[in-house]
């Protein structure tokens, strides 16, 4: 990542956040902390929600007008984080495209390119709608990518994620199938594996557990040293934007398959620290936005 080469005289990239729930508010705190981003609008539906109050207290312009605010005030932002719902995003996307805004989609809609910052940041620069896959995807795709690059004949990759039950709200619970499909598609795309499988467990243990993801791979002749070398480089990249990401086991061969276990502890900006699953998505989204900030205005938007 070319984080270190940002020009000093660079103007910060103006962003808007649609969706003032816990995820949007956590994103806001990360945006405000970023040296490359500034928040031009924090948009929701209820001005008295805790997220809105937090934004007001932080001096950020707020609106309860939804995406119309951006339509009416196009100068408020160049990039939009959409943390609403799949249905809402399908309404927002064409409007924002017409306005020439970059979009980072944090909903289950996922109509654009999948973005995994440690792996395909450059490819996303030309896109104007990217999504952050899934939490399990963000945690496992870099590993799957490394396996795909260092191992011959990757037949099958399986990813099992376990998240704290308290970190899974109604939206997560009603979209397990979508989570599984998106993660499996992402794994296939980034690893080149013939078959992939994703499993999600909700762990009700108290105190709440951090997110934990295990990656299994069926590979004819595993080359662990090669994998370990590539993986350590990737993990270094990941930890730049997700400090709570850690490989806690492997890579190793156990029972004839490659096993790697990763754990993600959240930053606790607005979401609880155990919700590493939610934090990794937000951290990845910020990393993506910061990359746009560094690259603009040198990159042309696709389609224009």
């Amino acid at each position: 990542m070319n984080r270190g080469t940002v020009l000093q005289s660079k103007r910060k990239l103006k962003v808007a956040i649609i969706g003032s729930g816990n995820i949007g508010t956590d994103l806001l705190i990360k945006v405000l902390r970023s040296p490359y981003l500034e928040c031009g609008a924090f948009i929701g539906r209820n001005l008295s929600s805790s997220g809105m109050m937090k934004a007001l207290a932080l001096g950020v312009p707020v609106s309860a007008e939804g995406v119309d605010y951006i339509v009416k005030n196009p100068d408020c932002c160049d990039l939009v984080f959409d943390a609403t719902s799949a249905r809402s995003h399908l309404e927002h996307a064409p409007l924002l495209k017409k306005l020439n805004k970059r979009v980072i989609d944090l909903t289950p809609a996922k109509i654009g390119l999948m973005s995994v910052p440690s792996v395909n940041l450059a490819d996303c620069l030309n896109e104007f709608n990217v999504n952050m896959v899934t939490c399990g995807g963000q945690a496992s795709i870099p590993v799957a990518y490394a396996i795909g690059k260092t191992q011959k004949d990757v037949d099958y990759i399986e990813v099992v994620s376990s998240i704290a039950s308290r970190s899974a709200g109604p939206a997560t619970r009603q979209n397990l199938d979508e989570y599984i499909k998106t993660t499996e598609d992402g794994l296939k795309e980034f690893s080149g594996a013939t078959r992939t499988k994703a499993i999600l467990n909700l762990n009700p243990a108290e105190p709440c557990v951090d997110m934990q993801t295990t990656i299994f791979a069926k590979v004819a002749n595993p080359d662990i040293p090669k994998l370990a070398e590539m993986l350590s480089g990737l993990v270094e990249k990941i930890r730049k934007y997700v400090p709570g990401y850690e490989i806690i086991l492997g890579p190793m061969v156990e029972n004839g398959r490659i096993v790697v276990m990763a754990r993600v502890r959240g930053l606790g900006d607005y979401l609880p620290a155990y919700a590493g699953n939610l934090d990794i998505i937000n951290c990845a989204a910020i990393a993506m936005a910061e990359e746009y900030a560094s690259a603009a205005p040198n990159t042309k938007l696709k389609g224009h």
């Binding site: 039950s165 199938d177 499909k181 499993i199 909700l202 009700p204 295990t214 276990m261």
Partner: protein, 342 residues
Amino acid sequence: MEHNQKIRISDSTLRDGNHAVGHQLSAENIASYCKAADAAGVSIVEVGHGNGLGASSLQLGEARTPDHIALATARKNLSKSKLGIHVIPGFATIERDLKPALALGVDVVRVASHCSEADICERHISFSRSQGVEVWGCLMMSHMISPMLLLEQARKMESYGAEGVVFMDSSGHFIPADVQQRVETLVNGLSIAVGFHAHNNLGMAIANTVAAAEAGATLLDGCARGFGAGAGNAQLEVLVAVLERLGYSTGIDLYKILDAADLAEQTLMKEIPTIKSVSVVSGMAGVFSGFMKPVSRIAKEFDIDPRDVFFELGRRKIVAGQEDIILEVAKELAQRAKKGNQ
């Protein structure tokens, strides 16, 4: 003592039993046992990977017989008995797994979650209901929450359209009073049927299942010779005999179910389930029975006592599907032992 109470038996030999053989039941196994169970008049025959539809994986063990072949084979060999499946959202998806299964002629869908997470079952239950099949909700590891909270979760399933709720003693932890209390709470709080699924780690499976029936449960699970995860389940043919003795009507022919059990013993299992030391420990610790094989294997690899692993897993309240945590626990215990020896 005449009960005139109709009890339906759901035979999990070809599903829970799959745990005991590392999910290696063959199509021939399925065909022959289904014929025998059908002949005996069993209400529901449940077929599939130990962890249900779509669960064949490296995490839980790869099935010898893929879901579609298992179900097609079973369907061909069941005429009076209903064909049932166990479905856990997070493993099985509606598009990839459930739709094809229903297309193959499944009659009964039991959508299961950990006992405190019933709301992940909403979509699968609603979908199954919309397809016109019989749908049950299933609450696993039900010893981990209070009877009142179990009822809260069961009510969610009722609201999604489940026609009944089965609660499972996945770790074989209960004693009869525990079961009675839960069945009573569920029967009083729900307007749908209640079922119970026992495991035998503490030798209580039959007693627990009888307690469930006495308290008002109308669907009871059993497996031939107790063929199931860990120490096994309620021994089906014994249960049928006991229920007959108590005056319940199950619709099952005693001689024919005994024949089915003999067949299961001869062809399905490598050994008849017994309660091994490690099962006593997992029952006491309240840890999922299906962990027995990976715990034994990994404990041997790290040269530590599997019983210590179970108590630690129990302490951490690890749930089914988290087999990957066993490696982590083993590593930690091995390190602790090394430190202790220094």
